[in-house]
């Protein structure tokens, strides 16, 4: 998975609780992305980062926030989890010199 790890890999949480997912890369790539994958929707971009402390919203950003304090780490936070945020979350990275985007192994999040 191209030097990308995600933690935790599985999480069950209750509605209303905060949740933070972590993406860590060892490739020193500039760009990092968070996607969610749901049946019938493919993958949808939540937030992305184009550098340390530089982030922006994607297609489905409501209810999510992100932070990037180091090149290698990109955090996704659900401030108050809802059942509609039950999904598989993927982190991805890409570099400056080509278009290729590589994905991590994913985090399966269940909100009960």
């Amino acid at each position: 998975d191209a030097g990308i790890t995600q933690s935790p890999r599985h999480k069950v949480t209750e509605t209303g609780t905060p949740v933070t997912l972590r993406c860590h890369q060892t490739e020193n790539h500039r760009y990092m992305y968070w996607y969610r994958q749901d049946p019938g929707h493919g993958l949808r971009l939540i937030h992305y980062s184009y550098g340390v402390k530089d982030t922006d919203k994607g297609e489905v950003s409501d209810g999510y926030s992100v932070s990037r304090s180091k090149t290698e780490d990109f955090l996704l936070t659900l401030e108050s989890a809802t059942s509609s945020q039950t999904s598989v979350y993927f982190c991805a990275i890409s570099g400056d010199t080509n278009y290729e985007q590589y994905f991590g192994p994913g985090t399966r999040l269940t909100v009960t």
Partner: protein, 113 residues
């Protein structure tokens, strides 16, 4: 808003046959079209990608055909094998330094032995 439409949703092909998955897009600013392969429990893996300045790209048994005027592109898997059984996603993006990939909804391919 689905900007990339993918079909079929599922596909069963006999071993040795040709698998064909189609995608159509609306945004003429898209200039990068990758295909991803995903096995159960794994993240999507980049399979092959094409830019709109060429009409076809081949890597081994995998070929992308691109029709700019029709705003369509397709993945052909020649001599399909049971190990190709996976979900395939097409995607598109506008190159602005980073990629905001827009994905199709996926095609679940089953190659029967």
């Amino acid at each position: 808003q689905q900007q990339v439409k993918q079909s079929p949703q599922s596909l069963i092909v006999q071993k040795g046959g040709i698998s064909i998955i189609n995608c159509a897009y609306e945004n003429t600013a898209f200039d990068y079209f990758p295909w991803y392969q995903q096995f159960p429990g794994k993240g999507p893996a980049l399979l092959i990608a094409i830019r709109p300045d060429v009409s076809e790209k081949k890597e081994g048994r995998f070929t992308i055909s691109f029709n700019k005027s029709a705003k369509q592109f397709s993945l052909h898997i020649m001599d399909s094998q049971p190990g190709d059984s996976a979900t395939y996603f097409c995607a598109a993006s506008v190159n602005t330094g980073f990629q905001k990939l827009v994905f199709g909804t996926g095609t679940r391919l089953l190659v029967s032995p």
